[in-house]
């Protein structure tokens, strides 16, 4: 598979999850394990541009795919606009949900660069955050999508 732009060959048992391979074989510890049952979204990575829950994705399913983790979205030392917006808007507290949340947001914006609030919320509905109450996360994503005002009363 290709991980963050690099071609990678990994030998793993058939039961290995993509999460295990990314963390334990490839040292990509930015991919987090929050629940191991596909509910919390902390393990979100992009597989061929789509957000997937790596904790319930078998590594085998990623054969031949392009995987993007949080470590792979900055370019030439410059952070991705979603990363910058999260920093600037106070959307990060403990940081454990942050990688998954950012990837879900990035994936949305790659497909739809002018989402409504509802579309943002639907895209992030699978990423659980206990610290922020989501308010500033929504604000950060709105900012990147070029909205100057909320698209409806938030």
């Amino acid at each position: 598979m290709t991980v963050n732009g690099d071609p990678v060959d990994v030998a793993a048992p058939p039961s290995a999850t993509l999460l295990e391979v990314l963390r334990d074989e490839l040292g990509l510890y930015g991919v987090k394990e929050g629940c191991s049952e596909g509910v919390c979204g902390a393990c979100t990575v992009l597989m061929d541009g789509q957000p997937v829950r790596s904790c319930i994705t078998l590594a085998l399913e990623a054969e031949g795919a392009t995987i993007t983790t949080i470590e792979g979205i900055a370019r030439d030392g410059a952070l991705h606009p979603v990363q910058e917006a999260f920093i600037a808007n106070g959307a990060v507290q403990c940081g454990f949900c942050t990688p998954g949340m950012i990837l879900s947001a990035k994936s949305l914006l790659d497909r739809n660069n002018n989402p409504t609030d509802d579309e943002i919320k639907t895209a992030l509905a699978g990423n659980f955050c206990r610290c922020t109450g989501y308010t500033k996360i929504l604000k950060a994503v709105r900012e990147v999508s070029g909205q100057t005002k909320p698209s409806q009363t938030d």
Binding site: G34, I70, T122, R130, Y134
Partner: protein, 780 residues
Amino acid sequence: MLEQEYSYIGKSLPRVDARSKVTGEAVFTADISLPRMLVGKILRSPLPHARILNVDVSRAKKVRGVHAVVTGADTAGEKWGVFRYTRDQQLLCVDKVRYVGDEVAAVAAVDEETALEALNLIQVEYEELPAVFDCHSAIAPDAPLIHDDWPRNINVNVKIDVGDVDAAFKDCSLIREDTFVAEEDSYFMTEPYAVVANSHSDGSIEVWMPNASPHTKAKALSNALKLPLSKVNVRKITIGGAFGGRSDVFPAEFITCLLSLKSERPVKVVYSREENSIATRMGHAMITTIKTGVDREGRVLARDIVSYLDGGAYSSTGPIATSVPFLCHEQTYRMENVRFHGYRIYTNKPVRGMIRIHGRSFACGIDTQLDMIADELGIDPVTIRLRNARQPGDTTPTGSHVASCGLVECIEKTAEKSDYLSKLKNPKPNHGIGMGCNSVQTGFPLGIRGGSQAFIKFHEDGGATVISGVVDNGQGNDNMLAQIAAEELGLPLEEIRLISADTEVTPTDAGSYSMISTFGGGNAVKTAACDAKNQLFKVAAGMLKAEPTDLILRNRTVYVKGSPDKGVPIEKVVRKALIMGRPIMGRGSFSPEVDQKREWITNPKGQLSQTFSFGATVTEVEVDPETGHVKALEVTAAQDCGFAINPMVVEGQFEGGIAMGGQGGMLGEEHRWHKGHLLNPTMLEYKMPSIKDMPKINSIIVETIDPGGPYGAKEAGMSVAMSAAQAYCNAIGNALGIYFNHYPLTSERILDAIENKKPGIRTAWEFEPAKILETDSEQS
């Protein structure tokens, strides 16, 4: 000092730790990888109450790749407790197990598969004992005893009696007695618990784990492992939330350390989500009976409260958890004559700890009952709260002077912003609005560990490193310290380095759990920075041929006041000081002014905390009477946090608090049980809000500029979570004309209350009240 004069303080600056978190670079405990590290797994009791007859690890030890196996037999069998009088827990069970999940044995092996294989080969013989799963059953005369030294399964008995309650009741024009019940709520911090322990040949051990005070964990581990404190080094680590659930020492770290000491290799234990729920802490389920008497205008003259707290199998921070729900409300509302009996009761369930929404049956009970009283008297809910609100200069019933208090301003501002009274008078169908008020301490008496100290060192290039014991659980404490240091030292925020929360290097600190990090830790850093500044000025005075008192420090330069062209760069002063043999070394400390003789059980009076934060929250909801589904429309929270060192960070606390205490806490968060087995240990079945559920939030920061806080700051982390719970409860009640007394307010409960609605001002359900219990002594 006016806000406009600050460079960094009072500004919504991005947090200094945000960058490493958005890149995935920040290292959490489970991310640590050390050479030759082993995987640890823990064997837990499958029974809620049983004697351990035999533990046979012989087959497990023989598995290839297993490097250590530990059981209670590898320990001295001593009982540990947060307080001397709550020593009830063997961190690895020796003779008994007391809940499903209690730790019995552990294995360290080369990988997870091997560790699990070995775990499966450990044979434990149990003799099952009868078990109890709720407070009423646990205190019944025929109940099985969970701990031999605690009769009737009463773990903690807090008794507070102020004024003359019985006489005062006689003067009341209205008296109500109601019972409020809350199921357990649970932290569900996003990061599951994990521990890494690395023992060294010099007899020392390094430990990484999420914590709310590395010094508290280190001391407890030093005692439990019988190692000198100087040999137990708890290291700094990024922490994925605590919310009160990671304060005291757990079997997890004790066991991981044992495995590392035995195998002489680093060991990592990572909890599953299920283990994080069962084997760390959860909130207390509570039954609270509140009897309140008021005068004709709704002023509270007397209150008599009895609470039963379901404490689970061990004490943890029992005396504190039992007291704080009451103490928060004696701070919030005036009540001259008040009696409180708080009983923390053992059950055969996982251990309960302090939680951000302290005692929601208590909190919601007080506020909902106020609404009921207001209803009976024909007063509106805002007026009755204003009449009873805490005022600055007051003394609380248990004897704390209240230095700063903006509660009245918070009530007025939230009522105004939400247009409360007009919505009350002109309700839309199925719409409701409700209010809750809070007050939270900023630090309690914690003896020798109640204060915070800090050092500041300068680098040759003029940058500075702050050394502080303060821990950051994700709320932004690291940033708070850096912002304060930058302000005082005249350095850009990016040039402040921070070494914190490492017990080998950093001085002691009280811990984040008593909401003291800003008040105590921030003050210590401010003092250290001022000390460093004075040392700089003494040296710079010679260089500038001026008096030290004429100098100011800004933009990396020491200036003479009024002559911005007459300055010298910081690094030159630092280097001059080094040449002179007087290197700049700032030191500072802060101990809050509390009554150190105050004790939770034996002497619950005196100054509890130097200051308190206050606030009010208003929630507006729409309820669907067909489905019982609640849609939160808008929440307005005003909190007197003293001063917002970083308004954006403070708002983040309000918003997170509303999500946890209100949207989640009141609408879906509860644990469900079957004979001591937790039915919903994971996020799949313990319902918490997603981004789609959150209402619009209005945050109003009220600043009373506390005389003791750094720049006037107090706290903002716990408070809004509490009053949000109360506000949601009252709003839903207002929408339906029902006074709810069983939490959380799931759709099932709401529909049940609608279906069985009876006339009159009464609670939705009747419960067996909590009654004063006969105990052998005042102290348990």
